[in-house]
Symmetry: C2
Subunit: 359 residues, 2 copies
């Protein structure tokens, strides 16, 4: 199957997305922030979390009134290094950006900053927020839960939590930054969607049905019955570790933000955390050791990993984020490849909101 893709310039894509969001009532600065995060995600090759969801997901959410375009986010703080934030049902990108900046400001002063956020929405790729710390010479942390459930606990078949991703970004010197951005399930839900759309099978070990049997036909998956396996897979291979990491994300986002506490006990897990909750953190490297020493050591460590011997057929061993940095270089120079379906959606969107289609 040939998939038709057109390369679109990143700057043009940011401008187009900004204008579309503004037409829906998103203030200019917030629209720019959102567009920038979405396009950055595409630049790094994480196509499942980028602009392809702009029309079908975020703009739809705004039009249906689920997303507040002018959120009055509030910060509650009882200590210099920590705070909670109420996202006022805002766009996840806007809320996430404000909360991560707050974590960075606190880390600037005390060395560490941690913000738990409730009442937000889907914020795209966690890695983008973690990476905001990089230019401040900080280690960035970002994670999120979701109102849906899709991951099963080892030994069960009913989805208990979502794929609850976590991301950590660490600056290096000459080498690209370390950026780990991972669902705590074996794969993110998007990979099943892609297989379903493209009519391909999925490997054994990604998901199970309601009897606990492996699913290889992605169309066989029924919401609420069976689900994605946690990282590690079966208990024998450490599936309880992936599930434990997923529950940890749930604790830091849903419980520590106070989101869970506002929901009655008898509510189904799906209702807990009415919208998405997040957790952000920043650690200032200079408060531990001289930044230049740290970056030099990071480069050495990354170079040592890249110099590891490879198995036949493997070109290179990457540190987390290394491959994405190569994709980013290519896409910055040559544009972001967009599926013809996404291009069509953008053309319709332009007509609908009354902006010029100039991609």
């Amino acid at each position: 199957m040939t998939i038709e893709r057109t390369r679109i310039d990143a700057e043009k894509l940011i401008n187009f997305s900004t204008k579309a969001l503004q037409k829906l009532g998103v203030p200019e600065e917030d629209a720019q922030i959102t567009a920038h995060i979405l396009v950055t995600t595409d630049l790094r090759g994480v196509d499942s979390h980028g602009v392809n969801h702009l029309a079908s997901f975020y703009i739809k959410g705004i039009k249906e009134g689920r997303i507040n375009v002018k959120p009055e986010t509030k910060i509650f703080s009882q200590a210099p290094s920590t705070a909670t934030m109420d996202g006022d049902q805002g766009l996840g990108f806007v809320v996430g950006h404000r909360a991560m900046m707050e974590a960075i400001h606190r880390a600037e002063r005390t060395g560490a900053g941690f913000i738990a956020v409730l009442n937000s929405n889907h914020f795209g790729a966690a890695g983008c927020y973690a990476m905001m710390a990089l230019e401040h010479d900080m280690i960035g942390i970002a994670m999120t839960n979701a109102r849906t459930t899709s991951m099963v606990a080892p030994g069960s078949t009913k989805p208990a939590i979502d794929t609850n991703p976590l991301a950590v970004a660490v600056p290096a010197g000459k080498k690209p930054p370390f950026v780990l951005d991972m669902a705590t399930s074996v794969v993110a839900g998007g990979k099943l969607e892609i297989a379903r759309r493209e009519g391909t099978s999925i490997p054994e070990g990604w998901a199970i049905d309601k009897e606990g049997k492996p699913i290889t036909d992605p169309t066989k998956r029924v919401r609420g019955e069976g689900g994605l396996l946690p990282l590690g897979g079966t208990p024998k291979l450490g599936g309880y570790k992936g599930f434990g990491l997923g529950v940890l994300v749930e604790i830091l986002c849903g419980v520590l933000s106070g989101s869970f506490a506002s929901i009655p006990k008898e509510s189904p897990p799906e209702a807990r955390g009415k919208a998405g909750d997040h957790f952000f953190g920043a650690l200032r490297i200079g408060s531990f050791l001289p930044v230049e020493n740290f970056k030099k050591s990071m480069d050495e460590m990354i170079e040592a990993i890249e110099a590891l011997p490879t198995l036949p057929g493997v070109k290179k061993i990457y540190t987390a984020g290394g491959y994405e940095a190569e994709v980013e270089k290519d896409r910055k120079a040559n544009g972001i490849p967009l599926h013809s379906k996404v291009i069509e959606e953008f053309q319709e969107l332009a007509k609908e909101v009354g902006i010029e289609y100039d991609l």
Copy 2:
């Protein structure tokens, strides 16, 4: 094969271990701390990291001069929430305990405390340090690297890092605390040791040989060639995530503490971080939301997980730490089962250092 085990009272075991360590020059308080951590580990069923290593590993290390019994640990701090600590080659338990207390003190004042430690030694189970935060109504974090390498990167066969465990402990109300304590490899090295000793095979997916083929005979593993797979296993099932987590632990322990920076670039990975490096963290829950709300929500979340439907043959779905809490209850009441070989080692140890064998 029947394995002979005798149940030994935990308090007696703490007293015996304390006295043995004191005879080797460890100050009373430090000996008590060490014995307490070792026995707590056994109480929770993590036998691979408890008293069975006392004679063969820690006391051996002291006698051979690798472990400093009177470390002058030093704290370097440039910010209220963060610090680095030089462990002066002390017992990992003593250094780890001091560093975790420092993290807790800082979190008391600012909401968050993070300490990176270099020049320490093997500190037992990471979970014990994370759990020190619980009685302070804090979330505790602990991780460690090691001077050995045993985990392979996806696509390589040469071990790149150690099994680099990480632990997070979170208090609940009536329910036992959430305690995730996991190697970032599929399994900890100890599981291979046990299989080797007991002459059993290991499941496919734990380790590979130097050609990248799965090892099922644990005696086939050669140090430095092939190794343990990262959590997730193959790249298709997310092995790069487990490896990414392992590298993250290496960054927070080895790089952020300054340990890597003191090693020349051309040194083999094995030499980096002359001894073990650690990373500890504490987040004060009360600086985010009222502690009673948090604990109530934790109980609700844990109860929701325990109420999940189970697959045939599965008795109960546990949250991380739930099973260990049940083991602890039993062992506190009925004693810790020790292998006859360990009992013999203790009898020899008693003679050697001149204390009464009173277990």
